[in-house]
Amino acid sequence: MSHEVEVHEVRLVGEADWIAAVDICRVCRIELDAVIELAELGLAALRGGSMQEWQFPAAALPRLAMAARLMRDLGVNASGAALAVELLETQRELERRIRHLERLTD
C-alpha cells in the first residue's frame, strides 16, 4: 500500500559542502579503500587528517557514485572505473558542444 509523504526539508548540497568519507561509502555502496583509491586516481579531492575526518566535496558524489556502479556492475577495477568516468564526462561535454554547433548549422 502506497502512502504519501510530504517533504518540507530539502537541502541543496552546494559546491562548498563536504561529505564524510563514511557517508560517501554508504551512499555509493562502496568500500572505503575503493573510495580512497578513486580519490588517489584524481576522481575527487580528499581532506582531513585521519580516517574519521576524511571528507569529499559533495560535488564529487555523482562521479564517485558512477564509478562505484561501474565497479560493482561491470567488474572493472578502480583505475578502469576512474578512466571510464572521465571519458564519459568528456564524451557528454563533446556531445553537448556538438548539439550546440548543430543548432548553428541546421
Binding site: M1, S2, H3, E4, V5, E6, V7, H8, E9, V10, R11, L12, V13, D23, R26, V27, C28, R29, A58, A59, L61, P62, A65, M66, R69, L70, D73, L74, G75, A84, L88, R96, R99, H100, R103, L104
Partner: protein
C-alpha cells in the same frame, strides 16, 4: 505474474557453466549499463540482466529456479508452487551467498516474479540479522526540465524502502515522496532529504535520500553551468543594419538590440538572465543569419542586385592571406 526465462535473458543454455553465465552477464551488462549505454530502454534491459544474474550466479538460487522446470516460456502466467523452496538448506539460515543489506537496494526494480521467489518472505530473502544497524543513505537520479530548474517545482517520486515486518522478514514498501525542487538548481545538483533513506531496523539512524538532479536537453536553450545559450535566427538585413528583436529567455521574452554589422555565430549577453543563483547565470544569444530562399523572381532579382552592387565584397578574402 509472468514467468521470466533467466537463461534466455542472459543468452545461455540451461546447461551453461558458472563461467559462461558470468561472461554473458559481463557482456550484456557492458551493453546495457545505464551509465554507458545508448541503447533504447537500457535501464530496463540492464535490470532484467541483473535480475537474471542475481539468480543464476548463485548455485542455490539457480537450483531452486531450475526446480520449476524447463517447460515455462517467458511471459507465461506464473504462480510459485505451494512447496516452493522446501527441501533447501540455507547457509546461515538466510539468503545464500548474501552480501548483507546492499542487495536489498539493488533488488529494487526487480520483477514480481523475482520477488515472489527470492524476495520478501521467501527463505532466500535477506535476514534482518544480516542487515546493518543504521539505515543506508539512498541515492536516486531525477530528470527535470530546464523550466523547473529555473523556476523550481514539485516532483512526486515513487520509491521503495525495505521495511521490517512483524514476522521478522523484510519487504519492499512502496511510498510516494513529494519533493520541492528549489529554483536555480544546476545539472548534476544534489539535494538531500534528511531521514528519507532506509529505516534502521534496530531503531538506529535513518538514512538520508540524496537526489541527483539532471536537466533534460531543452528545445531552445543550451545549458552550461548557470548560463544558457539560445541560437537566434536573424534575417540578413537585421544583421547588416541592426534591429530590435524579441528574444525568449527562461524568465519570459525580452527586447534585444542586434548591433549593425552583426555576424553569424556572434554572441550577445543578457546579463543575469540565466539560472537564478548567487550570482545568477547569464543568457547568451548566439546569432545565426538565415538567408531567405531565392525562390521568387523578386527574390532572385534582389540577390542579383546585391551581387552587382556589392561586387567588392569577398567572403573568402581571409583564405588567400
Amino acid at each position: 505474474m509472468e514467468y521470466r526465462d533467466y537463461y534466455k535473458i542472459l543468452g545461455v543454455a540451461r546447461t551453461a557453466t558458472a563461467e559462461d553465465i558470468k561472461k554473458s552477464y559481463r557482456r550484456l551488462a557492458r551493453k546495457y549499463h545505464p551509465d554507458v549505454s545508448k541503447e533504447k530502454n537500457a535501464e530496463e534491459k540492464f535490470k532484467e540482466v541483473q535480475e537474471a544474474y542475481e539468480v543464476l550466479k548463485d548455485p542455490e538460487k539457480r537450483a531452486a529456479y531450475d526446480q520449476l522446470g524447463s517447460g515455462w516460456k517467458s511471459g507465461q502466467q506464473f504462480r510459485p508452487p505451494p512447496d516452493w523452496a522446501s527441501g533447501f538448506e540455507f547457509r546461515g539460515g538466510a539468503r545464500p551467498g548474501g552480501g548483507g543489506g546492499a542487495h536489498a537496494f539493488e533488488e529494487e526494480g526487480f520483477s514480481d516474479f523475482f520477488s515472489s521467489l527470492f524476495g520478501g518472505a521467501s527463505p532466500f530473502a535477506t535476514s534482518p540479522r544480516q542487515r546493518q544497524q543504521a539505515g543506508r543513505d539512498h541515492h536516486a537520479r531525477v530528470d527535470i526540465d530546464l523550466e523547473e530548474a529555473f523556476g523550481g517545482g514539485t516532483r512526486t517520486l515513487d520509491l521503495k524502502r525495505p521495511e521490517l515486518k512483524t514476522d521478522g522478514t523484510v519487504e519492499l514498501r512502496a511510498r510516494t515522496v513529494r519533493v520541492t525542487i528549489p529554483a536555480g538548481v544546476t545539472d548534476g545538483q544534489l539535494i538531500r532529504l534528511a531521514g528519507q533513506g532506509e529505516a534502521a531496523p534496530g531503531g538506529g539512524r535513518t538514512g538520508d535520500l540524496y537526489l541527483e538532479l539532471h536537466i533534460r536537453p531543452h528545445r531552445l536553450f543550451q545549458l552550461d553551468g548557470r548560463d544558457v545559450t539560445l541560437t537566434l535566427p536573424i534575417a540578413p538585413w537585421e544583421a547588416a543594419l541592426g534591429a530590435t528583436v524579441t528574444v525568449p529567455t527562461l524568465g519570459g521574452t525580452v527586447e534585444m538590440q542586434v548591433p549593425p554589422g552583426a555576424q553569424s555565430g556572434q554572441k550577445l549577453r543578457l546579463r543575469g538572465r540565466g539560472l537564478p543563483g548567487q550570482p545568477p547565470g547569464d543568457a547568451y544569444v548566439q546569432l545565426k543569419i538565415v538567408l531567405p530562399p531565392a525562390s521568387s523572381p523578386e527574390a532572385r532579382a534582389l540577390y542579383e542586385d546585391m551581387r552587382a552592387k556589392l561586387a567588392g565584397f569577398d567572403p573568402r578574402a581571409d583564405l588567400r592571406r
